[in-house]
Symmetry: D2
Subunit: 182 residues, 4 copies
């Protein structure tokens, strides 16, 4: 184990990911895409590495031309009715995340959760919850929420791909919106 | 000196600030306000503490209802013609800042610089440069760019105040747009 | 009022600030400095513009050589016993801020609050609370928490100044630690 | 194509990733791990989504107990001799990234590049360059740098895994350092 080569490790990671991704509910994804399309504005919320992955998705949504914000960034305005809050949280039970989701609901926004536990307070509380079925108790050989975060990224990349096809958005259009002061 | 009380120190800081603020060119401020009002979108750029102050200003612009972005944040799109880049830089000569200003200009955006040196490359390069007249060589008893950053914040607070009056924007309207997922 | 010049506005802002700063309790500042010096590590917490000001302070603490972190940034570790959490919050009653302060206390960290209200839940909860005596109800002619944030910045600049004198830290030493990849 | 299901899309993404990861040079990874272990402090640099992925890695390095910083965050100090700058850049030719790498080198830091092009200015300039062999010209069916960013994340997750094994760091130890004010 100690002497596993990187190649073997990457194979292991990929096989863990493949297993999780194959179990995500396709119908719920359709509902998710529907909510993204319907919302007036989209707000992404996540803590730690889930938050970083959420931002990767936010960037692509912006490049596709959707009004989108990241909770906690400078120019993020008040969430309102008809907005959609997309919450990324492995456990779905972090108090602060629940608190924010509850504030958003009070304002009339829809909530969509991406979480590993459908029985979590967050999932129950949301209008729609997509289960990224990673067991948080030890079935992965990777540390902490790594497998969840990897699957979350790739799942959302899939959603980007599907949105591009559906809306006939080409890469060139996205490149034109890509930040150019870097 | 070593035993100066906080009260004395704060008095000293305030008097340094007052001196600098009294020397800012009022006519240039009018031109700055004109550019803010006219721009399609506003992009704020700054490094380190100047960048943090720039974000304080960006937040108020958003709350007043102006489309505004912070360079480097997740959902910041490509800058284009008719946009305004507001660059905050004490020295006005940091290579990376100049590089970004030059990229923005290439795209056809207007550049407005807030800097301590009117003879800096940044100032020369900009459509408009507002001088925050802080000597960077030792006349302040505060460390590094502190006096510049303090004056920059208060100057921009003044600009916010003036914009609110001109456009008849009340505090309540700004509170409604204030981020509510905190 | 509508035609106030920027000069008049800046004068007004400065006089509001001066009034608030003159009323800050000097003895509590001594206690604050004591806590900063004694802590193993310092954690800065604030939302919105208060959070941006908190980061301005964190940057100077780092440049003076103190181990310091900003809550929410990438490499911020777990807070522990002997650490100090410095919370910047005008109202001192935001649920999320209280929640985090309470988590920090559970871990055994000391809490120091910078707030406008000594009777706020945050102030009562903290080991030390410094009152930045800004009335949040309308006595300032500036919008939202602006006056609080300005006074918070300048107060913390004063603390930096005092710390430099006490510890004989010169500007050159701080410049050497100043981020050089900008 | 327009009607591809999410399952098919995810399969496609995974097969693209698998193909790229299988081609990464194992010997260079050993050299990379050596540099990480040897450095006094590690600095992560990346723009846009590569930067978000870089931060995912930085978080794990912190949790493993390594001194690590993210370029552009508040408390990041000056880079110095014996430090390691890890640069994540698909093209390896962005002017601003090169500029920062060049500043780091001037200070005596080692540079390690993660890039898709071994003939890029960044790769040539670095002490070590790891090629993430993604063709930037159209062989992927995903938009922009997506495939690079996905492979970068998973590659770095593999490096985390290997480091944990080598240093006998268990998940519990990492959990203890995991940010607890979220």
């Amino acid at each position: 184990m100690k002497n596993q080569s990187l190649k073997e490790v990457l194979k292991l990671i990929l096989s863990e990911i493949k297993d999780v991704l194959s179990k995500i509910d396709e119908k719920k994804t359709e509902a998710f895409i529907g909510k993204i399309l319907k919302a007036k504005r989209r707000f992404l919320l996540g803590q730690g590495r889930s938050g970083l992955v959420a931002r990767c998705f936010a960037m692509r949504l912006m490049q596709m031309g959707f009004p989108v914000y990241v909770v906690g960034e400078t120019i993020t305005p008040a969430i309102e009715e008809k907005d959609l809050l997309i919450v990324c949280s492995a456990s779905g039970e972090r108090h602060l995340v629940l608190e924010m989701a509850s504030l958003a609901r009070e304002k009339g926004a829809a909530i969509c959760a991406l979480t590993s536990r459908e029985d979590s307070p967050l999932a129950k509380f949301s209008d729609l919850s997509i289960k990224i079925p990673v067991s948080l108790k030890g079935s992965s050989s990777q540390p902490l929420g790594s497998l969840f975060e990897q699957c979350l990224l790739l799942y959302l990349e899939g959603v980007v791909f599907v949105l591009m096809r559906r809306l006939d958005i080409c890469e060139g259009e996205m490149r034109k919106r890509h930040a150019n002061l870097e």
